[in-house]
Assembly symmetry: C2
Homo-oligomer: 194 residues x 2
């Protein structure tokens, strides 16, 4: 059976259309939900920190009448994978040539350094030029320490980052990359045993 070229594309890759409408955060939430469903990892997006200024009481409970968003000092997502602590931040930039560092607060940069020091797994997920990359925390920190630029060039992200491809479920299988980077030995051992 033959379709005109554009239709065929739609059939072959049903995600293409969907991808356009959804943003990175939704994809990651969907992926984390899937990881929990198949009991692979327990990773959640942390609630946005909020300062509550006024409350009232209704029959359904406490209602916030006035609040404001606070600046986060940790990263957006954290949890537990293969017995290890994992934490990351997800950011989209419309910039084509670099990722502006203004996207990551100074408190968060310090926090990334601390997580590294305490042997946690920490990274950024950056969507740039419609491609999603995983950039390890240590590569991110080493860039900052060795450069005075206020953005990370796309070239650096392409060289040091790991591309996360879209798939059906999970939409963004970033743990596959985590396996390769952080659990390579264990993965090999498992293969050898089988």
């Amino acid at each position: 059976m033959k379709y005109p070229n554009n239709l065929e594309k739609t059939y072959k890759n049903p995600l293409t259309y969907k991808n356009r409408g959804m943003d990175l955060e939704e994809y990651l939430n969907e992926s984390n939900e899937y990881y929990r469903e198949i009991d692979k990892a327990l990773i959640y997006k942390k609630p946005t920190p909020i300062g509550v200024a006024e409350v009232s009481y209704s029959q359904r409970g406490k209602v916030i009448e006035r609040g404001f968003f606070k600046e986060p000092s940790t990263l957006d997502y954290n949890g537990l994978y293969r017995g290890k602590y994992i934490e990351y931040e997800a950011k989209v930039t419309k910039n084509k040539t670099s990722f502006p560092l203004a996207n990551i607060h100074p408190h968060q940069i310090k926090h990334i350094e601390s997580v590294l020091k305490h042997n946690g797994i920490v990274f950024l997920i950056i969507k740039i030029n419609e491609i999603v990359y995983l950039l390890k925390g240590d590569d991110f920190i080493s860039y900052i320490q060795n450069n005075s630029r206020k953005s990370i060039p796309y070239e650096f992200i392409k060289e040091y980052g790991y591309m996360i491809k879209y798939s059906y479920r999970p939409t963004l299988d970033y743990l596959k990359i985590i396996d390769e980077i952080y659990f390579k030995e264990e993965t090999y051992e498992k293969i050898e045993k089988n």
Copy 2:
């Protein structure tokens, strides 16, 4: 130098007065802040999950005009200690004879089971009869699985829980107990090496 008995007490134990005014959550936040200061652990209270119903925009940014508190499906505190994932919930009960299980949502109970399965460290911190206890996640789950009561008797908490004593800094040194329970071997190895 001598003081009347009541004054002497105030001097000897300045925490007594302070204890009355502060609640468990503040103590734990203070302790976690101290642990971060001395670079011992990275443990934070998660922000309360909030549903934002209405926002407005002011010069200072987005303002929440109406919101509501959501039911949490994970525990209140989580983080990283000695390379391990750690998560816990803190609860105070005014009940003297038992800890009502209504304090922990069914989703949270499932979550505790999952964290155990994924080799994370998970526990409850319960304040009952003015004493603070750490109850391991597996003891908590095993109580629930073997009993149909809707509360945990104080006797059980006294037998299986670990008392956390008040000190100056950190106010509640619960990681000392975590060391004893989960890192005993490593702690011994360290002592032997020295």
